[in-house]
Symmetry: C2
Subunit: 349 residues, 2 copies
DNA sequence: ACGCTCTCTGCAATCGTTATCAGTAGTTAA
DNA sequence: TTAACTACTGATAACGATTGCAGAGAGCGT
């Protein structure tokens, strides 16, 4: 109710506020026991606001994500929280992928946090030049661009991820390999496409532009893109989806068309899905340790905040691996008699 | 770098800090344009810390959940964020279901937030008596207990939820109906069990203690509980799981045993699961609007924070409904010849 | 007794804002 | 002309903590 201040504690014990303050910060004081008791009696808690003002530190780090309900971002946050430990609190903020909101949030955050860990949806959500003015360090997750040299970042090996998937398809004998890609103005969208194309090129598979559909990293986009692929005259026999939400959408499209996985279509998703093992068949995915990516971002932030360090921008790369479950098979496993998608010959042209 | 203060803005324009402050709070001032420009030039942002100290308000509301990576809690947070709008920021904190951490967090939060929205895992995570001393209002989500009359809360109709599921099973002809329950020291765990038993009693179905397994609201617990049920001499033909994580665990157990749903076993989960439609068969669930539950909690909090209101504790109840998909069927649909679970006669005793 | 270090103390300034208060014009009313 | 009102202003005291400073004792060696 009535907030109790350090002054009241001091009065009760009969010492100065300075002494109580020193006790609070761990110094030896004579009336130690009395102070401890007075604090308990009065139920005193130091005001964070006053401390912040005096010290200029908040012991708070914001994590900004486009959508906390996406399990992927939730895991990042969780990793960051764990790495923050007792020293820092985590202030979580959603942007809803809305650039205006993002800008406003960054402004509001001033004086409230010591630093920001940010997972942007696209690369230009916030004008790059705007960053310098916010006055706190920023660690980017999954984002790299021109000004990247100025900022810390934690990236994932997007190119390798796509490559692993494509190589898997190729090893099984697929040649009609398609990708449902993310927005090309986002780092993951761009790099995952690059990895896809690079792997195809390396295997000397002709690049069929119809086999790359750019979508929006959302479920509906994945559904639409997959539908488009299934409607091609010569549909692919293997599909890589560039993120978890689009994977779900794509699987819905596949299911609604009655296409069988993996007999008629091999499928790999980028980023693991909770319950991937429960799907029929279990989904093969390109996976990374998302929690540790969040943790790594927090670790970098904490280092940056330490005034003893004057580090140059850090760039950490998280590895990916292919987790094989049951959604891929050889393309010739199925007979074409009643397949809904094999209407052409296996050899194009 | 060097933080710019209101004083510098005032100096540059040639007015007093009071005038700048007034401009900031929306009053008419003569040098309006000059101030605006100076703020932009100097890139000045008011310090939240100083404002907090002066006003005693933080415009921040904490949402405390056991695990943000659980999509269910993520949705609560999201709803709360939406309802918070521009006026309040949301500070998210995980407890990891750890009571010590919970206590510590509540302490740390003092002076940092205006109020707390809390989703506790069990009812006694925090000593009820402890709450009075934290000095900010608390809105509970999914929790009710002795001291409930003192605190606002947003509950879900747990009893009805269980009842809907059981009635569905009964309507299909099931009599061997089991439940994988949550911890009985939690509000949802207790009430969902109560609803389960009440519905059975109403239908005059004998209460078989073996058909209620208390688990931990986690995936592994769900797996173990389901395994236990399948191992019974006279296993159930219909199972209700008390939350989403246990549902996933239970489905894994079912799958690993090769039991067919819904032919051999009807299944209903409490709380919807993302991708429930993708499962084979699509999962029938008891669902509520989780986002709106979070939003409702935030709305109550904002009202409580308004000094004009002197409200008695609010208790809002969120409705539930049964979403029928494909995981339930009549128990006699299947023949017993090769079923892995029907070893007894359909009629018990 | 004297100086010296050591440990602890209280005073007071300070962090960046906002709110109170007492002005100072300028306008209008009587 | 004076009074009353309006519309703004600047100086200054808070808000609740931390910290530099000077000083008070205590302990010790000479």
């Amino acid at each position: 109710m009535t907030t109790v201040t350090i002054t009241q504690v001091a009065e009760r014990v009969g010492v100065s506020v300075a002494t109580v303050s020193r006790f609070l910060s761990g110094n030896n004081v004579r009336e130690e026991d009395a102070i401890r008791e007075a604090i308990a009696q009065l139920n005193y808690r130091p005001s964070a606001a006053a401390r912040n003002l005096k010290s200029g530190k908040t012991s708070t780090i914001a994590v900004i994500v486009p959508d906390i309900a996406n399990p992927f971002f939730a895991s990042i946050v969780r990793g960051a929280e764990k790495a923050a430990g007792e020293k820092f609190m985590v202030l979580l903020v959603n942007t809803d992928g809305n650039p205006n909101r993002e800008e406003r949030i960054l402004t509001q955050l001033f004086g409230r946090v010591d630093g920001v860990i940010m997972v942007p949806l696209t690369e230009d959500e916030v004008a790059p030049t705007a960053f310098g003015k916010f006055g706190f360090p920023i660690v980017f997750v999954d984002r790299i661009s021109k000004e990247s040299h100025e900022f810390d970042s934690v990236l994932v090996d997007n190119v390798k991820g796509s490559r692993l998937a494509v190589e898997k398809f190729i090893a099984l004998g697929h040649t009609r390999i398609a990708m449902i890609g993310g927005p090309l103005d986002s780092t993951p969208g761009k790099l995952r496409r690059d990895g896809f194309h690079a792997a195809l090129k390396k295997a000397k598979i002709e690049n069929n532009p119809e086999y790359f559909v750019e979508a929006d990293f959302n479920q509906v986009g994945g559904f639409a893109a997959m539908t488009k692929l299934l409607d091609l005259d010569n549909p692919p026999t293997a599909v890589l989806s560039a993120n978890n939400l689009m994977t779900i959408g794509a699987l819905e499209a596949i299911k609604s068309r009655g296409v069988c996985v993996p007999e008629e279509l091999s499928f790999i998703g980028f980023d693991d899905i909770e319950m991937a093992t429960l799907l029929v068949p279990p989904l093969t995915v390109v996976s990374r340790d998302v929690e540790s990516q969040g943790a790594e971002a927090m670790r970098i932030m904490i280092n940056r905040l330490d005034p003893n360090n004057r580090l140059s921008p850090q760039h950490k790369m998280i590895d990916v691996k292919l987790i094989e479950r049951g959604s891929c098979s050889n393309p010739w496993l199925w007979s074409s008699k009643d397949s809904k998608i094999d209407q052409g010959s296996k050899k194009v042209k």
